[in-house]
């Protein structure tokens, strides 16, 4: 079966969520949201997928305070972050470019990053643009640090980075990313050319597994109708629903 790039990304992220209990997804995250729903649709362990901003059961939360408290209680196993800039130590910049505070380009702000990144065991970084503009040697502003001193309370942190080119894992001891697989049609050179930071590389980099037909059916039949509620434009574009 043919698949859309988005479906490959959904499938790749979903593999990272197997065996978890509670996955939370932030705003403006149709692909991570779809991945969480896909994982839940085939996993007996996943008790809840929370979609921030959703007012519908079973995806809604009891308000935003509840979300943050829930994470601090250790009741959220995975969350997604993105960044205007992400560097090789998994530092995330959601705040802006240039000299703070009067930045040349101001983005939104840190939101919950410098909190959930510390408390949620598996934070998956996801960005749909894989360029040296995004993946920089050093972020201009650390909205949330990728790593912390050993005495800092930090049960959580970066677990993986998914882009349209590849999947990285993050090694918390070595404080750097490792290229785990390259999506079909892309090369190590392409990843290197478009990544501004150094990363670990296995001797031979496997190709990312493509979604099998069962997975695609789950995505199209189970996930698409649900994700169309918070993200109608996305669902229409990818699946015509």
């Amino acid at each position: 079966m043919t698949y859309a790039t988005e479906e490959l990304l959904i499938s790749t992220i979903a593999h990272l969520l197997d065996g978890l209990k509670h996955i939370a997804v932030g705003v403006l995250s149709p692909i991570p949201g779809s991945a969480a729903l896909l994982a839940a649709s085939r996993s007996a362990t996943i008790k809840k997928v929370s979609i921030i901003g959703s007012m519908k059961e079973p995806y809604r939360l009891d308000g935003a305070v509840d979300l943050f408290d829930c994470a601090a209680q250790g009741r959220i196993d995975a969350f997604f972050l993105s960044g205007g800039q992400i560097d090789g130590q998994a530092n995330v910049n959601l705040t802006g470019i240039g000299q703070y505070p009067n930045q040349d380009t101001r983005w939104s702000g840190a939101f919950g990053s410098a909190y959930l990144y510390f408390l949620v065991p598996k934070v998956i970084l996801f960005r749909e643009e894989h360029t040296r503009r995004v993946f920089v040697p050093k972020v201009d502003f650390i909205s949330a640090p990728g790593t912390s001193a050993p005495n800092v309370y930090r049960p959580g942190g970066p677990y993986a980075l998914v882009t349209p080119l590849c999947l990285f894992s993050f090694n918390r001891t070595r404080e750097c990313f490792r290229l785990e697989s390259i999506h079909p049609g892309h090369t190590v050179e392409e990843v290197r050319d478009n990544t501004g930071f150094e990363f670990d590389l296995p001797a031979s980099v496997p190709e990312t597994a493509i979604p099998d037909s069962q997975t695609l059916q789950l995505i199209r039949n189970k996930v698409a109708p649900i994700i169309a509620d918070p993200y109608p434009d996305f669902a229409r574009k990818i699946w015509g629903v």
């Binding site: 935003a64 943050f68 505070p101 009067n102 040349d104 939104s108 702000g109 990053s113 410098a114 510390f118």
Partner: protein, 273 residues
């Protein structure tokens, strides 16, 4: 008739220049009241977005009403960057106190509990913390070698929001937005615009009661029909996407923003003024 029930102009005139005002993120936003503040050319407001902000902070900044904004983030969401906010930061005409979402909530909850500060996880090692002179790191007194951030209580002068209904006693039904209770408890005064004022006591109603704010915390109420327009009021009306898109386009530069505001404040004048 309860003296807290008044008209929107009276509420707007009581919000002095320089006030610290808490506004909820993306629903229950008192847009009518906000346009009123622009119309009366409010100045030097210190906005606290709870915990993030969208159109109203961007509009107030564009109109020159704001000198400081304490926020976990300002954005128009799917409509893009908040350009009046970004432009003001670049120029330095607005001071930004960057925080995280849970830090804003925790600061308000500290004020709600009448405690002067509250510890919070995260933050350590971020440039958010590094740039907040009013945040500190202390040693957890109950554990060796456990640094933790402590944040001062946030006490706004005013919490302002829009809600579905109030009753004659001044109780306000909030619906699912329980965070509005925290904001009202934390603030010196709370002003609410509502779609309607009902004749029964909301607190007496078994199911509405627990999702409502007691009149004890409400200092002013005014009816503002469609008071969240063009934003939504959950369960009552949806976003007016066309108007929001026209704002997002206009707000890309100051001139087109000014024209947009002129048109829409004129409208407001006829509707609620």
């Amino acid at each position: 008739m309860n003296e807290t029930i008044t008209d929107i102009i009276s509420l707007i005139n009581q919000i002095d220049d320089g006030s610290k005002i808490a506004i909820f993120k993306d629903c229950s936003v008192p847009m009518s009241l906000g346009r009123g503040l622009i119309k009366r050319q409010a100045r030097n407001l210190h906005l606290v977005t709870v915990p993030t902000g969208s159109f109203l902070p961007d509009m107030l900044i564009g109109a020159g009403c704001v000198s400081t904004i304490e926020t976990a983030g300002v954005s128009l969401g799917e409509f893009g960057l908040a350009n009046r906010f970004g432009s003001a930061i670049k120029k330095g005409s607005v001071t930004v106190l960057d925080a995280t979402c849970p830090a804003i909530y925790a600061g308000l909850q500290a004020s709600e509990k009448g405690i002067p500060f509250i510890p919070l996880r995260g933050l350590i090692g971020s440039d958010v913390l590094a740039n907040r002179e009013d945040f500190q790191i202390i040693d957890n007194p109950f554990e060796k070698d456990d640094p933790i951030a402590v944040l001062p209580a946030i006490q706004p002068d005013f919490t302002v929001f829009h809600a579905p209904m109030a009753d004659q006693a001044g109780n306000v039904y909030l619906g699912r937005q329980a965070e509005l209770k925290i904001m009202a408890h934390a603030s010196k005064k709370t002003f609410v615009t509502v779609e309607k004022i009902v004749d029964f006591n909301i607190m007496d109603h078994e199911e509405l009661g627990s999702a409502s704010l007691s009149h004890l915390y409400v200092d002013g109420i005014a009816v503002a029909s469609n008071g969240s327009w063009p934003l939504n009021l959950p369960g009552h009306y949806d976003y007016d996407r066309k108007t929001i898109q026209s704002y997002a386009n206009a707000a890309k530069n100051q001139e087109t923003f000014n024209s947009w505001i002129d048109i829409h404040l004129g409208k407001e004048l006829n509707e609620t003024g």
